[in-house]
Amino acid sequence: MNVPPIHVISPVWGSAYIRCFLEVGLASLLSPGNLSGLAEPRNLLHVFTTEADRQTIESALIWRKAQEVLDCRIDIVGALNAQNPHATMSDCHRRAIALADGREAAMMFYNPDIVLADGGMSSLVRLLAQGKRAVQVIGLRLLKDEVVPMLLERHVRPDGSLGITPRELMAMAVRHLHPITMMHLHDVDDLDLMPQEIMWRVGEEGLIARCFHIHPILVYPRVRNAPFSTTVDDDYLRAACPDPAEEYMVTDSDEFCLCELSGMQRGVVGLPRTGNDIDIARWAWTWARPHHYEHLCRRIMLHTRGTTGPEWQAVAARSDAVVRDIFEHLVEFEDEARRRAAQVG
């Protein structure tokens, strides 16, 4: 299969995000195993920003470096919705989708506060060549204030790009998890639970994740201008690529590894923990959709070394048991729902 051009779409505004994007996000995107290694002039870096931030981007050295590697375009965001920035971001995505669909391009939804390990873009191109149209990943959220200085100190290359291997990034990640990510850990008592992703630590060697929600990092739509209701994370992927056989879920961080970077002040409210997986099942009962259950069945290995050791096997078996337990509760809920429906009937 011929590989289509890739539009890397990044909505970014505000000084903090602009800085993170230029220093880390874009710099890691330009590493040799990512965009710099792809000699494809049809690729496009499509940035959405405000008029005020445009000059900052255009005057940055890394932006000029990007222009040497691929076509770069900046579109101006209209008014920002400060109460709901996701709505503004979705507007940007809709505009970018319209452009990419017109050019029959694949789209990479690349948020500004991301660090992408070297080789990720090569993996995406390989998957596109294999006929995959939707690639989904999870990104660990890390503490920005701790991780960015280390990235800049240790991994910036002479040409300004930022090169870090997946295992180096994971080694950094397991030591600097953001509190929101900690809320995904299954065996932590002190924090609220965020059941969208469930994770287990494997010592200092990495994590195993079982996820309901994962992020569509790359979409090469079958359906042009497919509508979505809220964000591209939600219902866009299945609308644009209805055939599940064309989806690909990254389950090994060696293949593709990215992390999100967030400040400590960013927080969310989760579910109270009771230590019983029935809480996760109850959440899933209300919020999960069929494709989320498919995601949950997959083991996602985020690792700094090999994953064949006994500790990995033990944690993987534990994650399997929890998934079985969740499904067992869901079957009970379904039985009860059917009984109630029969009674009403």
Partner: protein, 604 residues
């Protein structure tokens, strides 16, 4: 394999087991295992001794085994052993052995006698015993015969945590895994009513279908037409114990046990037929002679289980096929991950059809009716954006558009066009937007626009960029609205959009509206005040107190909830008569433009 070689293999070689079966029938000892395990079995001392009494036959199962415990694998392996017999399947009796099963001497002879006596399916209860405990007791007897009563004696001293937790007449009330209820009857007898007994043997009269289900649950039903399994109840006739690891304690918890709680726990798992069978079949594991008359404990146990079974009879049968399908799917996913098969597909929308339907219709958790009541109360008190009540902090924003939305929901969807950008919260009342504003203006949609004069109402919920192009949208869409129809433009801004941009958008929209000569036009701009923002933030503080789940926390939470909502109500009432904001205000929260089309005029 290690477990098998310790005691179970030796118990098979007791005089009354495989040697006896070998004398009674043409016997094959079929090892369904991966190649390396099968080689260990056939070359082991036990394997070679078994080979003196039965034909050793290996059925490879390498592709079934994956790196982890998957519930479907044993059943698939047994199935493979059955189907391997080919055309002889319906002329063969199958006895299902397990590598962790210790049989009392004579157990397999009894099975043979039942099968030759006409039984087509035999079930039994295998007591669960701790591996180390039973090995310590039987270790010195490995390779020798273990009489049934001796095995029972050791088993009763070695019961694992799961079975101990399900002893109903124990001193402490524990709850173990669903499946069986046990009573101690004196010091030497254990009575068991098993709702999920193990399938011991089968004489099929037909071949199984594809992926039939779990051995204990499905095999008899799909391979023996109308066969009622016979349950082996007397340990003198048949006794088997399953060796388990200590980890089984994880399945035990403290809890209250009664017929009612057992019904609750069994209701999703057990059919009426299983309940009836459990009530009728009381397995008795005894070290000594049983009295001729039923003991008091036996009578109590039977009565208890009958109450449970009677209650279960009124319950809809469980859907074991869903458990099988899920377990099978998980196993196939793992095979895919190991590069040993395609990525499977499971129809979760069918498996959880009722749950998904209920969840989507905003029903609450079926386990927590209180949650439903709270949601209902919240809906009554505050409404749901965009149809909110006077108590809602966003009531000012939506009060102008609320009546239009209510009217729009009462007419057919084909008479309303909903253009929604961004979060598109009107979807809560109108369903998904028909188009986004950019789709309308850029022509990137692939559906036909509404014909001229076909709409009662046009509702546009615009993003900031859409608002800037409001005039163009009006030009393009207004002709679709019939005479006397209505157009509503709404933008929720909170406090972000600069008022200059609002003024610009409003000016161009009003110019276009003037040009189109509407019957009536009105503009509502809601200001964004710091006090209102403060109240909006403050109304969620109560949750943090309530989540503490202390009396003080609940009181504080309730007080804050009442206070903030009272202030919100007062603010909304005060604003009923206050001046509306305008485009020159410093910040604004929302903009609503209402345009009524003249009854006597059509757009060009």
């Amino acid at each position: 394999m290690d477990v098998f070689e310790q005691v179970p293999a030796a118990s098979l070689l007791a005089t009354g087991n495989i040697p006896a079966v070998g004398e009674l029938a043409d016997t094959t000892f079929c090892v369904v295992a991966p190649a390396d395990i099968a080689a260990r079995v056939t070359t082991s001392t036990a394997g070679q001794m078994i080979g003196r009494h039965a034909r050793l036959h290996v059925v490879p199962s390498d592709e079934l085994v994956v790196d982890g415990a998957f519930d479907v694998v044993p059943s698939l392996a047994y199935l493979r052993g059955i189907t391997d017999s080919g055309d002889a399947l319906t002329r063969t009796s199958f006895v299902f052995l397990q590598p962790n099963l210790i049989l009392g001497d004579g157990a397999l002879r009894s099975v043979m006698q039942r099968l030759t006596g006409g039984a087509r399916a035999l079930t039994a209860t295998y007591l669960h015993v701790e591996r180390e405990a039973i090995r310590a007791r039987l270790g010195g007897r490995a390779g020798a015969q273990v009489a049934p009563r001796e095995l029972v004696r050791h088993a009763l001293e070695s019961l694992d945590a799961r079975d101990l937790a399900n002893v109903v007449n124990a001193n402490f009330s524990l709850v173990g895994p669903v499946g069986r209820l046990l009573w101690r009857d004196g010091g030497s007898t254990l009575l068991v009513h098993d709702f999920m007994p193990s399938l011991v043997a089968l004489r099929p009269d037909r071949a199984p279908g594809h992926d039939p289900g779990f051995r204990d649950v499905a095999f008899a039903a799909i391979m023996c037409a109308n066969a009622v399994p016979q349950h082996l109840t007397d340990s003198d006739e048949f006794v088997g114990v399953e060796v388990t690891a200590n980890a089984s304690e994880a399945a035990v918890s403290v809890g209250v046990r009664s017929p009612a709680t057992d019904v609750d726990r069994l209701a999703g798992r057990i059919s009426a037929a299983q309940g009836k069978a459990a009530a009728e079949n009381q397995s008795r594991f005894h070290e000594g002679e049983l009295p001729a008359e039923a003991s008091a404990t036996s009578v109590v146990a039977t009565a208890y289980v009958r109450r449970v079974a009677d209650a279960l009879a009124a319950v809809r049968p469980p859907a074991e096929d869903r458990r099988w399908r899920l377990a099978h799917y998980l196993w196939k996913v793992r095979r895919f991950e190991l590069g040993r098969g395609p990525l499977p597909h499971e129809r979760f929308e069918e498996l959880f059809a009722h749950s998904l339907q209920l969840a989507q219709s905003q029903a609450a958790d079926p386990k927590v009716p209180l949650f439903n009541a709270v949601r209902w109360l919240r809906g009554v008190l505050f409404g749901r954006v965009p149809l909110v009540t006077l108590l809602h902090p966003d009531w000012l924003d939506y009060r102008a558009v609320g009546p239009v939305l209510r009217a729009a929901t009462s007419v057919g969807k084909d008479r309303v066009l909903y253009v929604g950008d961004g979060a598109a919260v009107f979807a809560n009342a109108l369903g998904a937007p028909d188009f986004g504003s950019s789709q309308i203006l850029d022509g990137t949609y692939d559906r036909k626009p509404a014909p001229a004069g076909s709409l009662d109402t046009l509702i546009m919920e615009l993003s900031a960029s859409g608002l800037q192009r409001c005039a163009n949208l009006l030009t393009k869409l207004a002709p679709a609205v019939r005479r006397g129809g209505r157009i509503v433009v709404f933008h929720h801004n909170s406090d972000a959009l600069a008022t200059g941009q609002l003024a610009h958008a409003l000016t161009s929209a009003e110019q276009r509206a003037n040009a189109l000569e509407f019957e009536r036009a009105s503009v509502s701009i809601v200001r964004c005040s710091p006090y209102r923002s403060w109240l909006r933030e403050g109304r969620l503080i109560w949750i943090a107190y309530v989540r503490a789940r202390t009396v003080v926390g609940l009181l504080k939470g309730a007080s804050i909830f009442a206070l903030v909502n009272m202030l919100l109500l007062l603010m909304n009432i005060a604003n009923l008569w206050s001046r509306r904001g305008n485009a020159s205000d410093h910040t604004f929260s929302s903009l609503t433009i209402t345009l009524d089309v003249s009854p006597s005029r059509e757009f060009p």
